[in-house]
Symmetry: C2
Subunit: 224 residues, 2 copies
């Protein structure tokens, strides 16, 4: 059974990706990164999702990016926007996907895995540069020059199966594969129990996705 490292945030996208990787027959090693994000409900969700969808193992790597700051997700002084904005929003975390994929690359090499899955999406997304196809391709190319495994001929593939899907398509895909979205947390400022704010970018995209898919939204919203 082929092994894959699956980046798992606890949100609906990466949960769907884990279900897709399992459906393709991969033995899945789920990796979450605690980078000092605003809330830890997301990591608790990742743990539930990894178990629910049959990951072989789930690891959380700690790396404190709050020292660098530069994002409303890692710097308490920068508020999470409540309204859509022009350009790349304040929730962008500098080099986040690059750091997370680098860690996935390290673990993949040790596991002799040649596949990494990530839930980035370039349709209904926040405009983050490290969610675009050209970025993912460039990372894969770099990774295939970076490792001993690659030098020895074991080519790494970075799978981004949601890249061209709308949020509604992601909802339908996850539903079809039995993902219980009630267990996932997308909100940038969920409370300790995982209840969502309903107004941040992540909440807006998620709500619209359920609505467009015609699927009941199981998200727990808190009273505001």
């Amino acid at each position: 059974m082929k092994r894959a490292v699956v980046l798992l945030s606890g949100g609906m996208d990466s949960a769907t990706v884990l279900a897709m990787a399992r459906a393709q027959g991969y033995d899945c090693y789920a990796l979450s990164v605690d980078y000092g994000q605003r809330h830890h409900a997301e990591l608790a969700a990742a743990q539930r999702v990894a178990h629910m969808l049959g990951a072989h193992e789930h690891r959380v790597v700690n790396i404190d990016l709050t020292g660098f700051g530069g994002s409303s997700l890692t710097d308490q002084k920068i508020a999470v926007p409540q309204q859509p904005s022009e350009g790349i929003p304040l929730t962008y975390v500098p080099a986040r996907n690059t750091i997370m994929m680098s860690l996935a690359l390290a673990w993949a090499e040790v596991l002799h895995a040649q596949d990494i899955f990530i839930g980035v999406n370039a349709v209904d997304y926040s405009g983050y540069p490290d969610c675009r196809p050209a970025y993912v391709e460039a990372f894969e190319r770099m990774a295939n020059l970076a490792t001993k495994a690659a030098v020895e001929g074991h080519t790494l593939t970075v799978h981004a199966p949601l890249m061209n899907m709308s949020k509604a398509e992601i909802v339908r895909q996850g539903n079809m594969l039995g993902v219980d979205f009630a267990q996932t947390v997308s909100c940038y400022q969920a409370d300790e129990t995982g209840r969502a704010c309903g107004v941040c970018d992540a909440c807006r995209l998620r709500r619209a996705g359920f609505a467009a898919a015609g699927v009941d939204d199981p998200t727990m919203y808190r009273l505001t």
Copy 2:
């Protein structure tokens, strides 16, 4: 004054790179990564070197790679080789430079720095894949697709000024720029005070470099 992030391990190569970046007029932000390497004498050396060579700031980011293992530097069960070996040695740490450069990329973006310096070398080196020119170029290309800064037109350059230098040339370059090599630690298994074993790959390359440069070797070796 242009800012640069300089990866600083505490060894002779990255110390020389810091001196070179300073000589080119950069305001230098030194970054060390505590990834669970065998000894911490290297990080203590990095701190001394950053101060000695006038870095604006020195940060140490903690990230525990011992959970992944796969290298004699991060797994106590794998011994550091005492003899030269064929191929890529056991001291190779999976994806290490990719992880460190990703962190440098994150900090550079927050600092509005467009330059990262790293002391990789493909001449007198241990054969690590992530020290080769093609790797560094691929990282730079990926980085220029990864960030908000890049999207906004601020191109990032990854400088690897030692890439084509022999160890003897590095010794001479550092000497010329006033690097006190006695403050640096290259050994893979230095003791707590920074004294070197004299027999690991890093020690062998370093000793040979001083000998070939005709420069006195100030390294403190321990009795074995």
